[in-house]
C-alpha cells in the first residue's frame, strides 16, 4: 500500500479574482510505505502547498489526494500523519511533556497512556530530562526536537515536515537529520519533507522531488540510493553525485519565466 498518492492535483488560490495564483498544476506523486521523499525547489514552487494538501489543511482545486489509502480529510481526522513546521510552534503555557501529550489529549487517550507515550517520545529525541521545562527555557534545536516528538506522539505512519530544520545552525541540523532517519527507520514511518537545502534533501531521502515555480509543478524525481546513512555518507562519492543530480535538475528546468513573457 502507498502512504501518499496524489493524482492530477491542481491548486488555484483566489480563483476567479484579479490576484488568482496557480500554485500547483498537474501533480502526480506516490510515496511508498516507509519511503522518505523530499520536496525541493525555488520559493513559490508550491512545495509547502503540496505538503498542506497532503495534510488536508487546504483542499485541491482539482485532482485527488489519498493518504494511507483514504481521502486526505479522513486521514487527517484519523490522525494518520504527524506534522512539523519551520517554527516549532510549541504552546508556551504548556510544559514540554504536556506539549507532546497534546495530540494524544485531543484523541482522548487516557492520562496514563499519554504520560507513557510522551516519555517514550522525549526519550527518543533525547529530552527526557527536560519534560518539566517550558518551551521558552529551551534552545531552538531542542524546541524543534520537542515538535518532532509531538508529531510522532500518536505513532503516525506518515510524517509531514515543512523545513523543520530551516532555522537551525548547521551542527544541530546534521544531528537532527540523523536522529530523524533513526526514528523513521525504527517505526517504519514514511516521510514527506520540504526543504531548501540540496544536501539535506539528498542525505535524508530515498527520492528527491524537484519542483519549479510559476506554475508550481514537478519537473524531475531524482532517486537516491546511499544505503545506511552515517558520518561517512556525507563524504561519500554517491552523496556528491546525488547533490550534482539534484542541482542539475533544479538548474536545467524549463525556460525561465522572463523568456516566456
Amino acid at each position: 500500500m502507498t502512504a501518499v498518492a496524489l493524482a492530477g492535483v491542481t491548486k488555484v488560490f483566489n480563483a476567479g479574482r484579479a490576484d488568482e495564483v496557480t500554485a500547483l498544476t498537474g501533480v502526480d506523486l506516490t510515496v511508498g510505505r516507509g519511503e522518505f521523499v523530499s520536496l525541493i525547489g525555488p520559493s513559490g514552487c508550491g512545495k509547502s502547498t503540496l505538503l498542506r494538501l497532503v495534510a488536508d489543511l487546504i483542499q485541491p482545486t482539482a485532482g485527488t489526494v489519498t493518504v494511507a489509502g483514504k481521502p486526505a480529510k479522513q486521514a487527517r481526522i484519523d490522525q494518520e500523519y504527524g506534522i512539523a513546521f519551520q517554527q516549532a510552534g510549541l504552546f508556551d503555557w504548556r510544559t514540554v511533556q504536556r506539549n507532546v501529550e497534546l495530540p494524544l489529549e485531543l484523541r482522548g487517550s487516557s492520562k496514563a497512556e499519554r504520560r507513557a507515550r510522551a516519555r517514550e517520545m522525549l526519550d527518543l529525541v533525547g529530552l527526557a530530562e527536560f519534560a518539566g521545562h517550558y518551551p521558552a527555557q529551551l534552545s531552538g534545536g531542542m524546541q524543534q526536537r520537542v515538535a518532532i516528538a509531538r508529531a510522532l506522539a500518536v505513532h503516525p505512519p506518515l510524517l509531514l515536515m515543512d523545513e523543520p530544520f530551516g532555522a537551525l545552525d548547521e551542527m544541530t541540523r546534521e544531528r537532527l537529520q540523523d536522529e530523524l532517519l533513526r526514528i523513521c527507520a525504527r517505526f517504519g514511518t514514511s516521510a514527506v519533507f520540504v526543504t531548501h537545502s540540496i544536501p539535506e534533501a539528498v542525505y535524508l531521502s530515498d527520492r528527491v522531488v524537484v519542483m519549479s515555480a510559476r506554475p508550481g509543478r514537478i519537473t524531475e524525481i531524482v532517486p537516491v540510493d546511499l544505503g545506511e546513512r552515517g558520518e561517512a555518507t556525507r563524504q561519500s562519492a554517491g552523496f556528491f553525485t546525488g547533490i550534482t543530480k539534484v542541482r542539475r535538475a533544479l538548474r536545467g528546468g524549463p525556460v525561465p519565466a522572463e523568456a516566456q513573457a
Binding site: 498542506r52 495534510a55 489543511l57 487527517r76 481526522i77 484519523d78 490522525q79 500523519y81 506534522i83 513546521f85 517554527q87 510552534g89 504552546f91 503555557w93 504548556r94 510544559t95 497534546l102 495530540p103 489529549e105 485531543l106 484523541r107
Partner: protein
C-alpha cells in the same frame, strides 16, 4: 531581585506616592493664592481656604467623628456604604466579564458577527451614562426575577456591567485571535474541533490579554456603580454618600472627602482582587 525586596520596594513606593500626594495638597494649600489660580477667566486651580481644601489631618480626623450628632462614626458609615456598593460592583463585574467573554468568543467564531457587532460594542461606550442610567432603572422597575422583585442595586449592577463588558470583549477578542496561524493549522491537523481549539489553544493563549482587560473592567465597574448610584438615586451606596455629603460642603467641607476616599479605596480593593487572581494563576502555571 529577591521577592522580599521587591515587596518592600512596592510598599515603599505606595507610601511614597501617598506622601507626595499629601505634600502637594498641603504645599499648595500653604503657598497657593487664597482665591485659586485663574487662567483666561477660568479657575484652573482651586481656592486654598479650608472650605475648598480642608487639611489632610482634618479629613482623617473626620473619619473618627460621628456622621451626625450621636450617630455612628463616619468610617463605619463609609465602610458600610462601600460594602453595599461592592455588591453592585462584584455582580456587575462578573456579569460584564461573562458577557464580554461570550461576545469575544462569538466575534472570534464568526467574522461576520465581528464586523456587524464590533461597531455597536464601541458605540455602546459613547452613550452618556447619565442618560442611560435612568432608563435602566426604569426598565428594572418593571422587572422581577421569578417571585423576587427587581432591586435598585441590580440596576446599579447592570450599569456597572455595561461599562465592564467593553474592555473584556475587546481585549479577549484580540487574545482569542492571537495564536499564530501555525498553531491553528496544528490544531486542525489533530482534527480538533472548534470547542477543543478554543479550550486548548485560544483561551490559554489569551490570558496575557485577559488580565489587563479585567483590571480595566474592575475600574470601569467601580466607576459605573458609583455613577449609577448617583444618577439613579439608589440609597445605601458610597455614590449616594458622595452626593449627600457634598450638599454639606459649606458647613462640613471635610465630610465629602471621606466619601471620596472611600470610593477610591473601593476601586483599589477591586484592583487588588484582580491582581491577586492574576498572581495566583501565574504561580499555578509556573508550578504545574
Amino acid at each position: 531581585m529577591r521577592p522580599g525586596r521587591r515587596r518592600l520596594r512596592l510598599v515603599l513606593g505606595i507610601l511614597g506616592a501617598v506622601l507626595v500626594g499629601v505634600l502637594l495638597w498641603e504645599g499648595y494649600k500653604a503657598l497657593g493664592p487664597a482665591d485659586g489660580v485663574e487662567l483666561l477667566g477660568a479657575r484652573v486651580l482651586p481656592r486654598t481656604d479650608d472650605a475648598a481644601m480642608p487639611h489632610v489631618g482634618t479629613i482623617l480626623a473626620r473619619f473618627g467623628d460621628p456622621e451626625l450628632a450621636g450617630g455612628d462614626p463616619i468610617w463605619l458609615v463609609v465602610l458600610r456604604a462601600c460594602l453595599v456598593t461592592l455588591r453592585s460592583v462584584a455582580v456587575g463585574f462578573v456579569a460584564g466579564g461573562v458577557v464580554g467573554l461570550l461576545l469575544a468568543v462569538l466575534m472570534q467564531r464568526l467574522r461576520i458577527v465581528e464586523r456587524g457587532l464590533l461597531p455597536y460594542v464601541i458605540l455602546s461606550q459613547t452613550v452618556p451614562l447619565i442618560a442611560l442610567a435612568p432608563v435602566i432603572a426604569g426598565w428594572g422597575g418593571a422587572l422581577s426575577i421569578g417571585s423576587y422583585p427587581w432591586q435598585p442595586w441590580m440596576s446599579v449592577s447592570v450599569i456597572a456591567a455595561y461599562l465592564a463588558f467593553f474592555p473584556v470583549a475587546v481585549g479577549m477578542l484580540r487574545g482569542l485571535q492571537s495564536p499564530a496561524p501555525i498553531a491553528e493549522e496544528l490544531m486542525r491537523s489533530y482534527a480538533a474541533g472548534w470547542w477543543q481549539t478554543l479550550v486548548k489553544l485560544r483561551l490559554p493563549a489569551s490570558t496575557p490579554y485577559l488580565f489587563p482587560a479585567l483590571r480595566l473592567a474592575g475600574a470601569a465597574a467601580v466607576v459605573g456603580a458609583v455613577v449609577g448610584e448617583i444618577s439613579t438615586g439608589t440609597r445605601g451606596g458610597v455614590g449616594r454618600l458622595v452626593i449627600e455629603y457634598s450638599r454639606e460642603a459649606t458647613t462640613d467641607p471635610a465630610k465629602v472627602y471621606t466619601a471620596m476616599i472611600g470610593a477610591a479605596a473601593l476601586g483599589l480593593a477591586v484592583a487588588a482582587v484582580v491582581g491577586l487572581s492574576e498572581f495566583l494563576v501565574r504561580r499555578r502555571r509556573a508550578d504545574a
